[in-house]
């Protein structure tokens, strides 16, 4: 029998039990839908985070306290107070680090920010005035605080556009006094809406001089991080090396294994993000794969019922000259058509749901979400569903092909 006729015969067989066939493939449909959805959203999330990481700018270098975490046990050893003002001074020295353009220490804390009766919890970033250059954020109203404000530990603040909206609505914010953790700050600047820039959502942030934040808000004498910018992208590796050497010297460290700080660049961060999202995607896809196995068992079950129910038909076909191979092919083909159909429906649904998800994420959650369906997901979906048909259809098809025509014809 030719493949074309096996196909036709199998299709006729399926058509005869349309609703049962549809119910049978539901498990496969759901499994493939889940896989496509997870892979599409996973890829979207990865792209989103990677874009944010790239938003760091390829010239930006982040120095954070503590050794780079390499495993769960090393978290315990992370010291958070290793970056001090003397490190900043040492790094600013051109003799130590060449090719460094800007550098600012930074501290961060989520704090209550209040104006009159309105009160919100926001990220408060303590930094030097150079943060404006590094992140490319300049107030649309007022101006940034100055070097002088930092020395004086002045209580001045720059607020993001959303913070301004929440606390002041349409009225003017410049010159008003807001309270951060109960301490009065004068608003000297309002940032334009800019969304996510590097690690920060600029719209939703309050920037104050780091010295003020350290002393009056947090009561610490160290920094949470130091942000630096190299003069050019090519200079980044050299700058990173110089930073490491300088900090080791100021911290009296001979063995790089014992570093109490770590330096991250965009390239490092992107690599790490990719690794994390891939692991997450694999994990979620594995969960979806379980539903495919369940779906496959469902297919096998229904095919066995179908084989029993069509015993007489099998007997007849054999009496009319069908070989074992013909019967095997027919039933295997039915299983594969079922699962491949389930796969196709699942892919369509998965793409549809992913699209809806991308709309929700971009329109409602205002993320810079790009709708993508990886080709690998589509091929995986098709491949896996067909493989399930072959695997779980083989046993019932074999049972069918081995039936004795005489007994099959006698079957009531």
């Amino acid at each position: 029998m030719t493949i074309r006729h096996s196909l036709k015969t199998a299709l006729n067989g399926l058509q005869a039990h349309r609703s049962r066939s549809l119910l049978t493939i539901l498990g496969i449909v759901i499994g493939i839908t889940a896989i496509i959805l997870v892979m599409s959203v996973g890829r979207g999330a990865e792209d989103l985070i990677l874009n944010q990481v790239r938003g760091l700018g390829s010239r930006t270098i982040i120095i954070a306290p503590g050794r780079e975490p390499t495993g769960p046990s090393s978290f315990a050893e992370i010291s958070t107070d290793s970056l001090k003002l003397k490190d900043v001074e040492a790094l600013k020295n051109k003799a130590n680090v060449q090719g460094l353009k800007e550098l600012t220490p930074a501290v961060m804390q989520v704090s209550t920010v209040a104006f009159e009766n309105e009160s919100v919890r926001k990220n408060v970033l303590g930094a030097s005035e150079l943060i404006a250059k590094i992140l490319d954020i300049y107030p649309r109203e007022g101006s940034f605080f100055t070097d002088e404000d930092i020395r004086q530990k002045a209580s001045v603040a720059i607020i993001g556009s959303e913070v301004k909206e929440k606390l002041f609505g349409a009225s003017d914010a410049l010159g008003e006094k807001i309270k951060i953790k109960g301490r009065s700050f004068r608003v000297v600047g309002v940032l334009p809406p800019k969304g996510q820039v590097a690690l920060f959502n600029v719209d939703d942030i309050v920037v104050v001089p780091y010295s003020t934040a350290q002393q009056y808000l947090m009561g610490i004498n160290y920094f949470n991080m130091i942000l630096a910018q190299s003069e050019s992208e090519d200079a980044v590796p050299r700058v990173v090396r110089d930073i490491e050497l300088t900090l080791r010297e100021t911290h009296n460290i001979d063995d790089p294994e014992k570093d109490d700080f770590h330096v991250t660049t965009q390239a490092d961060a992107a690599e790490r993000v990719s690794a994390i999202t891939s692991i997450l995607t694999i994990l979620l896809v594995s969960v979806a794969a379980i539903s495919l196995v369940v779906g496959g068992i469902g297919i096998m079950n229904i095919m066995l019922v179908s084989v029993t129910e069509r015993t007489r038909e099998i007997g007849l076909r054999k009496a009319l000259g069908a070989t074992e191979k013909d019967v095997l092919t027919q039933f295997l083909m039915e299983a594969v058509i079922l699962t491949a159909l389930g796969g196709i429906v699942g892919i369509l649904l998965g793409v549809g749901f992913s699209f809806i998800a991308s709309l929700v994420l971009s329109k409602i959650f205002l993320l810079q979400w790009v709708f993508t369906v990886p080709l690998s997901a589509v091929l995986l979906g098709l491949g896996v569903s067909t493989a399930i048909g072959l695997t779980f259809g083989l046993y019932p098809a074999r049972q069918a092909s081995l039936k004795s025509p005489m007994e099959a014809l006698r079957y009531e």
Partner: protein, 239 residues
């Protein structure tokens, strides 16, 4: 030379350790073009004999020689080929495919043959015409009467131009009028087309349409006689 040659043929069913002997060694032979009825009450082993002769089941003793070769000498694939090309089966329960047209039902054996596809339609139409159902070509099998269904089954048995037609109680589910039409067609197979016909029945009247009657009882051949006063189904239509 005989087309079917059976010598001491035995069949015993083994089921859960219980042996059920059904055929106790039967011997006979059938010449090409012969019309033989195998008759006997239920349980006499006549259906089992037909299954063995039609390669639908395997014997457990003795020898069965078809077309010069013993059953053991045929491979599985050859057996499928023989069923397809050299045998035609007509069953009591018709065994047509549901939700399938007359034409498609008749084409079914061609699906498993090596006949080129462009000839299928013509062959099927010819077979359907020979049983007088050309006007029912596109009807689904469920829309047909019992007699018509059996005629479709006969057309299906003929479509590959077999050497032997096995008919297992072909009139068992039919009223007497339809039965006569079917018996007429079966007689024509032997008379006009020269097919070897093996007819299984428990009715003496039906058996007497054949040239020869083998009577079975308890797994043995009780008698093997030529029919002296044959019924000719066609005569009924002339009246």
């Amino acid at each position: 030379m005989a087309i079917i040659e059976v010598k001491d043929l035995e069949k015993t069913y083994y089921n859960d350790g219980v042996d059920t002997p059904v055929l106790h060694g039967v011997s006979f032979s059938v010449k090409p073009g012969e019309f033989v009825a195998i008759m006997g009450p239920s349980g006499s082993g006549k259906s089992t004999l037909l299954h063995l002769l039609g390669f639908l089941d395997e014997h457990t003793g003795g020898e069965y020689r078809f077309d010069g070769k013993t059953a053991d000498e045929y491979s599985k694939e050859e057996i499928s080929k023989v069923r397809n090309k050299k045998f035609g089966f007509v069953f009591q329960a018709f065994n047509l495919l549901a939700r399938t047209t007359v034409l498609e039902n008749v084409k079914l054996p061609l699906l498993y043959s090596d006949t080129p596809e462009e000839k299928w339609d013509d062959l099927a139409r010819q077979a359907i015409e020979s049983v007088g159902l050309s006007h029912r070509l596109d009807h689904e099998s469920s829309q047909l009467s019992g007699g018509e269904k059996q005629r479709v089954a006969i057309a299906r048995a003929l479509v590959n131009d077999p050497l032997v037609v096995f008919a297992d109680e072909p009139t068992g589910n039919l009223d007497s009028k339809s039965g006569k039409v079917v018996m007429d067609i079966i007689q024509q197979l032997s008379e006009k087309h020269g097919k070897t016909v093996i007819l299984i029945t428990h009715e003496t009247y039906t058996a007497e349409h054949a040239e020869r009657i083998i009577t079975m009882r308890d797994g043995n051949i009780e008698s093997d006689k030529r029919v002296e006063h044959r019924h000719i189904a066609r005569d009924h239509f002339k009246k």
